[in-house]
């Protein structure tokens, strides 16, 4: 049995409000909120690298639990160099040099894939620390500015620790999918700007996210209404609301903090889960569903049950 025993997060202090960004982009700030639900996002300083933010999120997570990891998984689509990825350096800076540390360059769905892999590997390696850290503002706000891209993204890091046989959120089941035929529709090349075919990405995400959740719940003989809270990748408020509508669940049951942080790619789901868990104590037996969709395309969902 694999259980998420703690979450953690790190957000840079610097806030970029949509009002200020709108002036820079020459657009109406109401338009930004209307198309994305984003009111502000965090922007990392020079010293807040993917590694540093990942370390701080990892520390925040480990401070909430009495356990050390036997394996570290790090998701980032913005690692800053081709290799080595940030995983080994983050593990070292957390004081765990020597344990295996694996990079997952999966972008937005990376933390979801990390949680599923961590659940499988915890019995072999001991507690698995999953970290997702992203500096999306750097690529989204590169000149020449593309207003459709620049409004969406922010920086930050999230983390969780997966243990075996402990109180927390038991990882009951999961579905993961990948389809490389869409690789060109959302990509960040070795050089050059972030490319996103927005309409295609939204059409596919709007179908595949609720589809993965439905597939998972059906397999567990559950209806969406039985899930206490959904914590999704925070891509776009409209996308979250649409998933709620398709699943016939009140939008309020989808935890959302995108208004504060924007889309932090793979970090967003763990940052949201960390904030949700800090503000809520799920009752034993409560069902929680996490889901993500992103470049690749990669997508999926995880079902968790609160265990006292």
């Amino acid at each position: 049995m694999a259980v998420i025993v703690a979450f953690g997060r790190y957000l840079p202090d610097r806030v970029l409000r949509s009002d200020d960004l709108a002036v820079r982009l020459g657009v109406d700030s109401a338009w930004i909120t209307e198309v994305s639900g984003i009111q502000e996002r965090r922007v990392a300083g020079d010293d807040e690298t993917v590694v540093e933010m990942g370390v701080r999120a990892g520390r925040d997570c480990l401070a909430r639990v009495d356990a050390n990891p036997g394996l570290v998984l790090v998701s980032s689509g913005t690692p800053g160099r081709r290799f080595p990825g940030p995983a080994a350096e983050i593990a070292h800076k957390l004081g765990f040099a020597g344990i295996p540390a694996i990079d997952l360059p999966v972008a937005s769905a990376g933390s979801l894939f990390g949680v599923v892999l961590g659940a499988q590997l915890a019995s072999a390696y001991g507690p698995v620390l999953v970290i997702a850290s992203e500096r999306m503002s750097e690529v989204a706000m590169a000149e020449p500015l593309d207003k459709n891209m620049a409004i969406l993204f922010g920086d930050g890091a999230g983390a969780c620790l997966i243990h075996t046989d402990a109180p927390g959120l038991e990882i009951v089941d999961s579905v993961l999918h990948s389809d490389g035929s869409w690789a060109g529709d959302l990509q960040l090349g070795l050089t050059g700007p972030l490319h996103m075919n927005g309409p295609t990405v939204i059409m596919q995400a709007a179908r595949k996210l609720p589809g993965a959740i439905s597939e998972l719940l059906k397999r567990n003989s559950m209806l969406p209404g039985a899930v206490a809270v959904f914590v999704m990748h925070q891509a776009n408020r409209n996308l979250i609301d649409r998933a709620a509508r398709v699943l016939d669940v009140p939008a309020a049951r989808f935890y959302a903090n995108i208004a504060k942080y924007g889309n932090t790619s793979s970090a967003s789901m763990l940052i949201a889960a960390s904030e949700w868990r800090e503000a809520n104590a799920p009752a034993s037996g409560d069902q929680v569903c996490m889901a993500a969709f992103g470049a690749g395309f990669h997508w999926g969902a995880v079902l968790l049950t609160a265990r006292a």
Partner: protein, 81 residues
């Protein structure tokens, strides 16, 4: 009501427009649809014509005009017949 007329009604409803687009007009460029409205429209087309549009066909170009949608729905209906 013809199939094309039904599609026009769906586009008008989803785009909250009283004006019917020209059959060849780009629904994106003319501002009838944005990404989310397009997604809503696809759902309504599936319900109206009792068809299931495969994920692989969910590309904006396929649904960019009334004519394109009409011919796509006709093809899909034929292949399901």
């Amino acid at each position: 009501m013809s199939r094309q007329e039904k599609i026009i009604e769906i586009v008008k409803r989803v785009s909250k427009s009283d004006v019917a687009p020209d059959p060849e007009e780009s629904l994106f460029d003319s501002g009838y649809l944005d990404s989310f409205a397009l997604t809503d429209m696809v759902g309504e087309i599936e319900r109206e014509f009792s068809i299931v549009i495969p994920d692989a066909d969910l590309t904006p170009r396929r649904f960019d005009s009334i004519e394109r949608i009409d011919s796509y729905v006709a093809r899909l209906a034929d292949s399901n017949a």
